[in-house]
């Protein structure tokens, strides 16, 4: 992998891989809901929507230009980052780089377009709200975290989406969209030296600016269980339990990953892969096979600051949610692990890594993500740490993180139709 840092602070990572005639180009900005404040929650995602349409000479043209070459493109906002990408047949890297250079410097925020995009974002939020378990998770997260910006949804609270102004968007863009706050990743059928040269030509002239200020708020320690209940029309009950999780740079991460693999199955390093769930996991054996839940999963993300470890159950018809909760808590908080289970979990984590680098788009996503939350080198070190994890390490992190005083329990209880 070739790593370059331009004079304006733009960090460039290029990985050559000639196994397919494809290239993917990603631009990641160190800005997400972590950088927001009440009143403008969802603004990082709002900006993503505006820039997704393209910028500068590519305004409203990105989809046509990329698709007509057979490529695909998308953008994502998370707690810590906003990322844009294009995956194209090889030979099209310059187009992707030009698109990203325009995004970095020439955004547009016309009143009329902002209003239309607001409608699209509200529709996106409503799509999520259609899922009862999403509504429960939103409530649990906001209860488990009382101060840190991770407590609100990346899409933002509805009232904030409705009231974010054009000036808010412009100011936010000026603050965070600058080379010194960005990472550019290229993976695929390219010559690394040539690629870096093209990046320098297109991005080297952009003003780097200072790195934006880091958020100040830290989440205070939790000292006691928190509970929350949601009553709404639904056909089944859901239980969601959230504990505090270590950050991506924490020394506890490796044993935590292994513990998670034992409980729910190995985590994919692809941040978009969702919750883990494998049938050899304890969650499946105890909760699903045990007849308490029709599905069970556990989820956590590699994040800059400590975030949450969430376990979710869809309670099986005929079972009371409290019964399922009790079983889940007994399993998690009394976690027992054998040498064999740890060994199996480690080989699952290693296999996940092999699966994660099967395609260029996935590789680049992983590189962006790791670079944002820690550093791309973190993965290699992490894998070494994972190999050394012992059952005692797993027991230690379980007894530190998965405890009553640090848990938040949410129950969605159906009422009305279907209850």
């Amino acid at each position: 992998m070739h790593v370059e840092v331009l004079d304006n602070g733009l960090r460039v990572l290029v990985r050559e891989d000639r196994s397919a005639p494809v290239v993917t180009c990603w631009a990641a900005y160190r800005v997400g809901s972590r950088n927001e404040r009440p009143g403008i929650t969802g603004i990082s995602h709002f900006i993503e929507h505006m820039l997704f349409r393209g910028a500068g000479k590519f305004r409203d043209e990105v989809d046509r230009l990329v698709s007509s070459r057979g490529g695909h493109f998308n953008a994502f906002t998370s707690q810590d980052a906003t990322m844009y990408y294009e995956t194209l047949p090889s030979g099209s890297l310059k187009l992707a780089l030009e698109i990203e250079a325009e995004r970095m410097s020439n955004a547009f925020f016309d009143e009329e377009v902002v209003e239309r995009e607001r409608g699209v974002i509200l529709a996106e939020r409503e799509m999520s709200e259609n899922q009862p378990e999403y509504q429960l998770w939103e409530l649990v997260r906001a209860t488990a975290l009382i101060a840190h910006p991770y407590r609100w949804p990346v899409v933002g609270w509805r009232s904030d989406i409705e009231s974010i102004t054009v000036d808010d968007l412009r100011e936010y863009y000026r603050t965070y969209y600058r080379p010194s706050n960005a990472i550019l990743v290229v993976v695929g059928d390219v010559d690394a030296g040539e690629a870096v040269k093209e990046v320098e030509e297109l991005f080297g002239g952009l003003e780097g600016g200072a790195r934006p200020p880091e958020p100040r708020t830290r989440e205070p320690p939790q000292r006691g269980e928190r509970r929350v209940e949601l009553r709404m029309p639904a056909n089944v009950s859901y239980v969601c339990v959230a504990y505090k999780a270590p950050s991506a740079s924490s020394e506890d991460l490796a044993p935590f990953l292994v513990m998670h693999a034992v409980l729910a199955g190995a985590k994919s390093f692809n941040p978009l892969s969702g919750a883990s769930f494998t049938r050899s996991s304890k969650l499946y054996k105890e909760l699903v096979r045990g007849g308490y839940a029709s599905s069970a999963s556990a989820w956590f993300m590699l994040t800059i600051d400590p975030y949450l470890y969430a376990l979710s159950l869809t309670v099986r018809s005929g079972v009371e949610p409290e019964e399922a909760e009790k079983k889940l808590l007994a399993l998690v908080e009394g976690l027992e692990v054998s040498e064999d289970e740890v060994k199996r979990a480690i080989s699952q984590v290693e296999a996940q890594l092999a699966y994660n680098v099967e395609d260029f788009t996935g590789q680049a996503l992983m590189m962006c993500r790791l670079e944002v939350v820690a550093s791309v080198e973190r993965l290699e070190k992490l894998m070494e740490e994972v190999k050394r994890v012992s059952p005692a390490d797993v027991r230690r992190v379980a007894s530190e993180y998965l405890v009553e005083d640090k848990r938040t329990v949410g129950i969605l209880r159906p009422e009305g139709v279907g209850a």
Binding site: P89, A123, M127, N235, S294, S347, A351, Q352
Partner: protein, 412 residues
């Protein structure tokens, strides 16, 4: 791009396609010739339950033991029901490939479908079906199928089945279905760090246990496009967004109009950010996060549909825009530039799919499943490039014209 594919027909009637890639992992995607047509009347959901139970225990080994063995190697395996086949997906590291496929198919061939396991799974599936009943996307899609394929057509069903059907499934139903499971007609596409001869050797051994009887042939009653608009509204209290599914019958996969329809659909609701529909309803009107069109072309029949999620107060406005776009395609056709863009998109995206083992496998499985031949990748380019504006207009007029269609709205 030229894809180096090794194709081998096994003595038992299965076909293995291998693409070697410099990876430490192997991805296997395949099919067994057992489609939804094998479900008897009143047993909707049987194929799905059958697929899940294939790795839920033999007489000698419990589900837990089987899964511990497979996942303990860092591998994963699953069987799932599809309209035309039973799909299997297997992932492993290259080092554990042979061991993984051998174990997976040996346990599937010996699946015991024990009563206790059936009851366990039934409870979960019934809860899942209750959950789906509150999902407007699922409900709208299910009602759409029921209205589009009346008269007991197998495509009128949803793969997860119905509560009534799943409640009635017996162990005997599953054992009868197992009698129909065969390796003849099976397809396995293997992509990753494995030599073709090793892939063939492993799968020949693995599929042997499934036998080589001839599979049941799919059959279905004739269906025709509705004479006029068929409308259904379903209320789901407590939801926030309405979901609309609107579409009609089109052509089966091997019909000569298929390729032209693919281009028309691309322009309508796929190209770029969901085609003309995305531009009109999302980008210009801000009414939707998603609104797209799809063509589903299977062996026995095919259909197209538009799906979108809208604020309940905006449904009528959005639907009238969709209908205008459909009529516009049929009446005015498409521009040269749209057509050229779409052709380059369809041809180019096939190349870009090659970046991932899953993309390669998906493409090759389709090629083999429909007997398209390995030269299809080249032919596809020629056929798409040969589509003219008048062809698009003709198929739009024939199939996408907003007359005689089914419209379902699932709303709070």
């Amino acid at each position: 791009m030229r894809l180096e594919v090794a194709r081998e027909e096994l003595s038992g009637g299965a076909v293995v396609l291998t693409v070697k890639r410099p990876l430490r992992s192997v991805y296997v995607l395949g099919s067994l010739p057992l489609g939804i047509h094998v479900e008897p009347e009143g047993r909707e959901g049987l194929l799905n339950v059958f697929a899940q139970m294939l790795l839920m225990g033999t007489r000698e080994k419990s589900e837990t033991e089987i899964i511990d063995e497979i996942e303990g190697m860092g591998s994963s395996a699953s069987f799932s029901a599809r309209y035309e086949c039973l799909l299997f997906t297997i992932r492993s590291t290259a080092a554990r490939f042979r061991e993984t496929v051998t174990k997976v198919f040996s346990y599937a061939a010996e699946a015991a479908f024990l009563e206790e396991e059936l009851e366990r799974l039934r409870g979960r599936v019934l809860t899942h079906l209750s959950e789906l009943e509150q999902d407007p996307r699922f409900v709208a899609g299910r009602e759409f199928r029921r209205l589009l394929f009346p008269g007991g057509h197998p495509y009128s069903r949803v793969l997860t089945g119905s509560k009534e059907g799943v409640s009635k499934i017996t162990r005997d139903d599953l054992l009868e279905l197992k009698e129909l499971m065969t390796g003849r007609g099976a397809i396995a596409v293997v992509v990753g760090g494995v030599e073709p001869e090793d892939a063939v050797g492993a799968l020949e051994e693995a599929l042997e246990g499934l036998g080589s009887e001839s599979p049941p042939q799919p059959q279905a009653p004739e269906v025709s496009r509705p004479a006029s608009r068929v409308y259904r509204e379903v209320r789901i209290p407590g939801r926030v967004q309405a979901v609309v599914v609107l579409g009609s019958l089109a052509v089966p996969r091997l019909h000569p109009d298929y390729q032209k329809l693919l281009v028309a659909n691309d322009i309508l609701g796929s190209f770029g950010l969901m085609g003309r529909l995305g531009r009109r309803v999302r980008a210009e009107a801000g009414l939707a996060y998603y609104v797209f069109s799809r063509v589903d072309a299977l062996r026995l029949a095919g259909f197209w549909r538009v799906m979108g999620g809208f604020n309940p107060a905006k449904v009528e406005e959005a639907v009238s825009m969709i209908l205008e776009e459909l009529a516009g395609m049929a009446e005015k056709g498409v521009s040269e530039r749209e057509l050229e863009d779409s052709k380059r998109h369809l041809v180019g995206s096939m190349e870009v799919m090659m970046e991932s083992p899953a993309g390669i496998a998906q493409l090759l499985l389709e090629v083999e499943l429909y007997g398209l031949g390995l030269d299809y990748l080249e032919r596809f380019r020629e056929e798409v490039e040969g589509v003219r504006p008048e062809d698009v207009r003709e198929v739009a007029e024939k199939y996408l014209r907003p007359e005689g269609y089914v419209e379902v709205v699932a709303r709070p």
